[in-house]
Symmetry: C3
Subunit: 318 residues, 3 copies
């Protein structure tokens, strides 16, 4: 879509000298390319502004002077709300009307009552069990088992030798909204996807949300238990283990071989170093930069001090 059209669509009036560049989508300041629009809502990302390659940036007037010369400033009081409105422009269809019939590899079994969308590709020796929904443009590898009543939303990718247990939902929308001054919430369309690499096993009734931009990524060898919640834009490193009822908030970046105990959780936008263990119920609210340690509690402590602290707390009873 033409930038001029987008700007008019968003009701932005202060813009001059619009480039006639064709816009392909939205992205973060750090990841946007020259055909994408970005936004600055949180000052924390000012550092990404000067090096952005975005065609244009939704931005408050006070920061407009910091926008690089090759990028156009789209000035607005509410950059995040305008981003939400723009996200709808680039949202793909719910169901593709046109496209190729599925390509199914040798010895792959598609059971009854499976829905396969347009442009679906499935490798060989895989099984898609009854009641599953494989949406448009989904790619599934070889030797992979998709148990009954699994739903894979459009554009997601599942690798080889994966097992996805029943009732699991892959690629539902991340939970993202801009807010109006009246307290209403405006959907930020989640135009990214989920990428699941090889040898991943996912339990039953787990949910993995698609990215708002880019991909939510589950790397090689990861094992997820039942009723795990992975929010948009998380990245799970190789061989990471997540037990039942764990919740990862948006943009949690876990290194390889992280272990998270039952009902533990992360706040969003943080990193956990490789080989970290979070005990059951641990609540991670800040990045863990040094790997190989075990943590517990909420607020989070290293495991041994946490145990000691619980002893001290119990003594209050005396």
């Amino acid at each position: 879509m033409n930038l001029q059209d987008i700007v008019e669509n968003l009701g932005l009036s202060d813009v001059n000298q619009l480039k006639t560049v064709n816009i392909s989508g939205l992205n973060t300041l750090a990841d946007a390319n020259q055909s994408e629009i970005s936004f600055l809502d949180n000052k924390k990302y000012l550092k990404d502004l000067e090096s952005t390659k975005a065609a244009a940036v939704l931005i408050k007037e006070e920061f407009a002077s910091l926008v690089p010369k090759s990028t156009l400033a789209l000035i607005t009081d509410e950059p995040y709300l305008k981003l939400a409105l723009a996200s709808e422009i680039f949202a793909p269809s719910l169901i593709e009307e046109y496209g190729k019939d599925p390509i199914i590899g040798e010895n792959t079994v598609i059971m009854p009552n499976v829905y396969l969308g347009k442009n679906v590709t499935i490798g060989k020796d895989s099984t898609i069990m009854a009641g599953s929904y494989i949406s448009d443009n989904v790619i599934i590898g070889s030797d992979t088992i998709v148990h009954p009543n699994v739903v894979v939303y459009r554009d997601c990718k599942i690798g080889n030798s994966c097992i996805i247990h029943a009732g699991t939902i892959i690629g539902s929308d991340g939970f993202g909204f801009a807010h109006t001054k009246k307290g209403e919430h405006v959907k930020i369309y989640q135009n990214g996807n989920v990428l699941i690499e090889d040898n991943v096993e996912i339990g039953s009734n787990t949910t993995i949300d698609r990215a708002v931009f880019g991909s939510t990524i589950i790397k090689n060898g990861v094992k997820l238990d039942n009723q795990v919640q992975i929010a948009h834009n998380c990245v799970l490193g190789e061989h990471t283990i997540i037990t039942a009822q764990v919740g990862l908030s948006g943009s949690s970046i876990l290194g390889r071989n992280v272990v998270m105990g039952g009902q533990s959780a992360t706040a969003g936008h943080l990193e956990i170093a490789p080989f970290t263990t979070i005990a059951a119920r641990g609540g991670v609210t800040k990045s863990i930069t040094e790997g190989g340690k075990t943590w517990a509690g909420f607020p989070l402590f290293e495991h041994r001090p946490w145990l000691k602290l619980q002893g001290k707390i119990a003594k209050l009873l005396k």
Copy 2:
């Protein structure tokens, strides 16, 4: 059903002068009308007894004298157990045998493998995706998307411009049982429904239980994330936001623009004032009457004192 028949069915022998009134169902003391039976099990509701309009009340002998003249006292040692038995009498059919074919609005898409019950009405420009189950008497508005493998139980209502993500269950039975002296649990049939107003988005694998009497209500503009649990008879005010893995116990009444962080929860039968924020993992056990504040922890504190308290607790380690 005739009151005489119900009383005999429940094995109540002490009743005289039965009215021949036709009984249409069960309800609370406060909400029962002149064709409904109510019950008094918890003294907390004695205040509702004197003003009840119920045709009859299941009640212990000691409170029988407090029953208003226009209401008949059905005396029993176990009013709650008798309520459970009576609830089965009024439980509607699991599947209606007779009824009208679905009425589907213009441009609405019903994908393959969707089950539509009797007397279903769906507005225009909506999409019901494959594998979803829309039970008898369900009404769905216009511009609404029901993603794959969603289940909507009988008698529930979903408004306009809603998005229901995959695997979500709307209207399953609330968790309510009376208990016998032997420790067995007798089901209280959940004869209410779920009402979802307009502009509501619900994440994947969320569960919203139907009311025991009346309705579980999700008001205009509410946004629910994945794996949220809403128990029977909750009411969620306009534009309230509930993030992933939150659990609301029965009859939690949330005002408008309440925000509940990940894995937070409420105990039942309480109210949360408008514009309240509950931080992640917060556990609300009492009503919050003053709006606009932020709370955290379990037991619950205001957010700043909670942070301070965590600092004090951490000092115990030294």
Copy 3:
């Protein structure tokens, strides 16, 4: 399969004098019979070694001398990893190719889009609602309701007068892996099943994992709410009540009439005495041997001391 073949398959070279016994499967030291292979990985189970009836035991060299005479020691540095590899040998087919057509009792209703596997038996007056998946060898009793989009994995059994709400998954794989020295996880195939007795009600989107060996057991009269997670090899005693979002870790053994409040949880391999109540959010990490008490918190305390402790903690603020 012949023991000689299994040993070669696992790459075990130190074994002499192999018995020609036919091996039917794997089991724990305590439960293995003379045609099963067992393993010793954790010293905690040394007490079970001397009385084991297993045909052979995967074991480290240092403990080999403790193996009873009638049992063959299969010596390996990594008994748990070899167990994982052996578990795949005994894993049944994902989908049976051959077998009998379903046997359906009188007045039982099978709705559209239900998948019934081979050798399925369903009693009379039951209802299997649309979109449910009843896998091979599953037995379902009489007067039982399976709501839409439920999945029952192979070999599981559901009794009479049960209600299984929508989206619930019964018999998905327990979460069990052995680990290589490189940090990869090797699946322990879960070759057991789930047994659900009579009068059990299970909420929506709950998950109950099959046992690794033997059965996960839900006894008569148990009531489970929505989004409950029951891991492999749990046993829930008669009339136990588990409310929403509770997580039971593997091999949690609950006595009769246990009550677990919302979002409470257990660590694995422990027992809870009959008539125990765990308050909401309680975290049980050790066995509770004396019944009839109420517990709360994490770490867990008896309920009254826990309340008192919370009072003491709150005083730290002053």
